[in-house]
Amino acid sequence: MPEAENLACWKCHERAGVAVCVSCGAPQPPPPSPDPFAVLGLTPRFFLDPTLVDEAYKRLTRKLHPDRFSGKAAVERRMSLQWTAILNDARRVLRDPDRRARWLATGSAEVRERGGPRLDTPFLQQMFTWREEEEEDPGVIAPRAQALAASIRAELDALFRAWEAGQGELSLVEDRLARLKYLDGFAVVPPQKE
């Protein structure tokens, strides 16, 4: 959790933490557009230890879960509900490499445009050729898609490694994620395990 800012708790007027008041334990008003890294008090980076995410998530959820506010005032119950939803979402973004990558590159974990960003013509042409070849020789596409997905993941890793070293930028990320999503359609990309 980021360190307590100089904000007063709405309930006890002591200096509050960001999510929960350090003095009275009341949940504080949740931010309108939460940053998943900030919410869990983690430094924004792609190469992230998933146990750190889980630890931060559990520590905060323990304090903020609606079950802790059963019988409390409606306003506290409401804030605890909103916070816990934010924590669940933050964990979902940070535990999934694709969502995490998209968030770092675009500031949003979801695909922004309906249907996703436009894929470039060379990529689509290649896919078209593959599909034609699949019709003649079924089964040919799966290993190719798998190899391509693996190379895209390696490219993403390299992009983020450079970025975390203070070089390069992430403008290609969204397109590469869209390609991965397209390749997912062949259902051959092995699920990422953490």
Binding site: K58, T61, R62, H65, P66, D67, R68, S70, G71, L81, Q82, T84, A85, I86, N88, D89, R91, R92, P191, K193
Partner: protein, 615 residues
């Protein structure tokens, strides 16, 4: 402080449990039975709930309802086959709410499944009142994990009608997991296979220290022991070469099939009688009949494993829940599915209610059981919106940890448009028409702007009970758009309010007699408990408490003889109040005794805590 209770509102039977002296226990009736059959009969002189209603169902076919949980929160058109199966008469004119018609002699009454369930809940509440010496604080009520939003809402409504404050709706397998987890103090990943009377759930949970995390859940809200009974009854009918059975015979046959099913858990062969005819059924015949039902559970188990991204090797234990898991074939089937013998040390009928009581105790915030226990449950089915072409766009995927929120931005298609229609769906099918319609929301009060300019952000929030809340805001103007929620199926807020009003009016006019009986029964319970406690623990009485209590008891007995309901109620409360400090002293002593390491049950029996003493 009043204790919180846990309720298992089941298809076949229901239970209420409470944590007393650090231990969860089910509350028993006067014969020592924790189970209240979920059967309700509407008689001209009142409502009969429980064993009598169940046992005489074939005598009062037109006015008795069992397995009403199958109808909760469902659309009339989805219920017609169940209604036919149970031979219930349904109001054919209502397309939105299931209305069952009870007929007995002169009496014709139309009731909703919510009202029928509330009668069962009232009986459970009364049982708790008797044991706790007063109203319970709040209730945790269990629902099948696979219940959708409408089914959950209906359960909440039933509790409200029964005068219960619902602290939390808890998924049944999760409740069982709490009881199991606190029982074994184990950790790892485990499966809860819950086959009840009418519902099937499978949940995969991860227990890590004091965090219970549900990883995935799947199931079928129309699959259970009822189907075994139906299959067996159908078998007997064909064996006897009968074509159509009248309602009474059908009901009688179902009861006989249910009893035969239980016998076949122990015996290799049994007989079912129908009038003068006798049909003999072997266990292997029965097993062949129910195999198709069990195969339906396998698909759900495989889906849950896939959603949890686990193979069966990743599972550390399998727990069986629900009375139907007593059938030996069910156990063998589960063992085959997961490759390991299931854990069945806990009573499969009671474990859900016990877990609910534990969660209810934890929600008090000063639980003696597990203060830090954190329960993270999931939503069973995806939520989505209907978009162009009747396709569903999902905004919350199934098995997301709840509470969970999502938002979508909408705009207008026509200049000056001030309202947007949204259709919210629950389910995992591609086409809108194959999913469950939760409701249509109309966003009104948008500023009249050119098409495409307004940006309405609609926020969806699924709370810890798995119930959806919707809000909306126009982003340029900050106007909070008003949302008219029209539930597709189920009761509206107004209808619930009306039912509550009716219940009160009803109580004040026609049912005085019944109220008197209830007041008497309640008073008798309190009297007996107080008399026992004061004689066992006379040493804990202080000052002139003994004479004060005696005086109120005398007045109360006089009022009971006189038959004055108000007086009985007032004096019951007075007796409650005058014994409160004494009761507090007993609880404190109970706690210190329990802390010395003696079995809480022994302590409770010594203390004469009602309910506990009968365990």
């Amino acid at each position: 402080m009043a204790a919180n209770i846990g309720i298992d509102l089941g298809t076949t039977h229901s239970l209420v449990a409470v944590v007393i002296g650090g231990k969860a226990r089910c509350l028993l009736d006067e014969t020592g039975d924790p189970l209240v059959p979920s059967a309700v009969r509407y008689a001209p002189d009142g409502v009969v709930v429980g064993r009598d209603a169940r046992d005489r169902a074939s005598e009062f076919t037109g006015s008795t309802f069992t397995s009403v949980k199958r109808f909760m929160g469902r659309a009339p058109q989805d219920c017609s086959s169940d209604a036919a199966l149970f031979r219930y008469e349904m109001d054919p004119d209502d397309e939105r709410v299931v209305r069952l018609i009870a007929r007995q002699g002169e009496l014709v009454r139309t009731v909703t499944p919510v009202e029928v369930s509330s009668e069962i809940l009232k009986v459970l509440r009364a049982r708790a009142v008797e044991v706790l010496f007063g109203e319970p604080g709040g209730a945790v009520i269990t629902v099948p994990a696979y219940f959708d939003d409408a089914q959950r809402q209906a359960t909440r409504d039933a509790a409200r009608l029964a005068g219960l404050e619902v602290l939390r709706l808890l998924n049944e397998p999760t409740a069982a997991a709490i009881a199991y987890g606190l029982d074994t103090r184990g950790s790892g990943r485990f499966v809860v296979y819950d086959l009840g009377g009418g519902t099937f759930d499978v949940s995969i949970l991860e227990l890590d220290g004091d965090v219970f995390q549900v990883l995935a859940t799947a199931g079928d809200t129309h699959l259970g022991g009822d189907d075994f009974d139906q299959a067996l009854a159908e078998f007997v009918r064909t064996q006897l070469g009968l074509s159509e059975l009248d309602d009474a015979t059908h009901r009688g046959l179902l009861l006989a099939a249910e009893a035969a099913k239980r016998r076949l858990s122990e015996l290799d062969v049994t007989e079912i009688r129908l009038g003068d005819a006798v049909v003999s059924v072997t266990r292997s015949q029965f097993e062949a009949l129910i195999m198709p039902v069990l195969q339906r559970t396998s698909a759900a188990c495989r889906q849950a494993l896939a959603d949890a991204k686990l193979g069966r090797d990743g599972i550390d234990a399998v727990v069986l829940v629900g009375g139907s898991t007593r059938t030996p074939l069910v156990r063998r089937h589960v063992e085959e599915l997961f490759g390991r013998a299931p854990y069945c040390d806990l009573n499969p009928d009671e474990v859900v209610a016990l877990g609910a009581a534990m969660q209810a105790d934890i929600l008090t915030g000063n639980s003696s059981l597990a203060d830090d226990l954190l329960l993270l449950d999931v939503i069973p089915l995806s939520l989505g919106l209907e978009v162009m072409g009747g396709v569903v766009e999902r905004f919350i995927p199934r098995c997301s940890t709840i509470p969970v929120s999502a938002s979508q931005t909408f705009t207008t298609h026509v200049d000056g448009q001030t309202a947007v229609d949204l259709h919210v769906l629950q389910g995992d099918r591609e086409l809108a028409k194959d999913n469950r319609s939760l409701g249509r929301f109309v966003l009104r009060g948008l500023p009249p702007l050119p098409a495409g300019v307004p940006r309405v952000k609609v926020s969806f929030l699924v709370d810890a009970d798995g119930i959806l809340q919707v809000s909306a805001r126009e982003e340029h103007t900050g106007i909070e758009a008003r949302i008219d929620v029209k539930p597709s199926y189920g009761l509206t807020e107004e209808e619930i309010e009306q039912m509550l009003e009716d219940a009160i009016e009803h109580a004040e006019t026609d049912v005085d007699d019944r109220m008197l009986i209830e007041a008497r029964v309640e008073a008798e319970g309190i009297l007996a408990a107080v008399q026992k406690a004061t004689s066992v623990d006379s040493g804990l009485l202080q000052g002139d408490e003994a004479s004060q209590i005696r005086a109120v008891i005398a007045d109360l007995q006089a009022a009971m003889d006189e038959g004055n309901r108000r007086k009985i109620q007032d004096l019951s409360h007075a007796l409650d109040a005058v014994t409160a400090p004494f009761a507090q002293r007993r609880i404190e002593r109970d706690l210190s005794l329990a802390l010395t390491g003696r079995d809480a049950n022994t302590v409770a029996i010594e203390l004469g805590i009602p309910g506990a003493a009968r365990v």
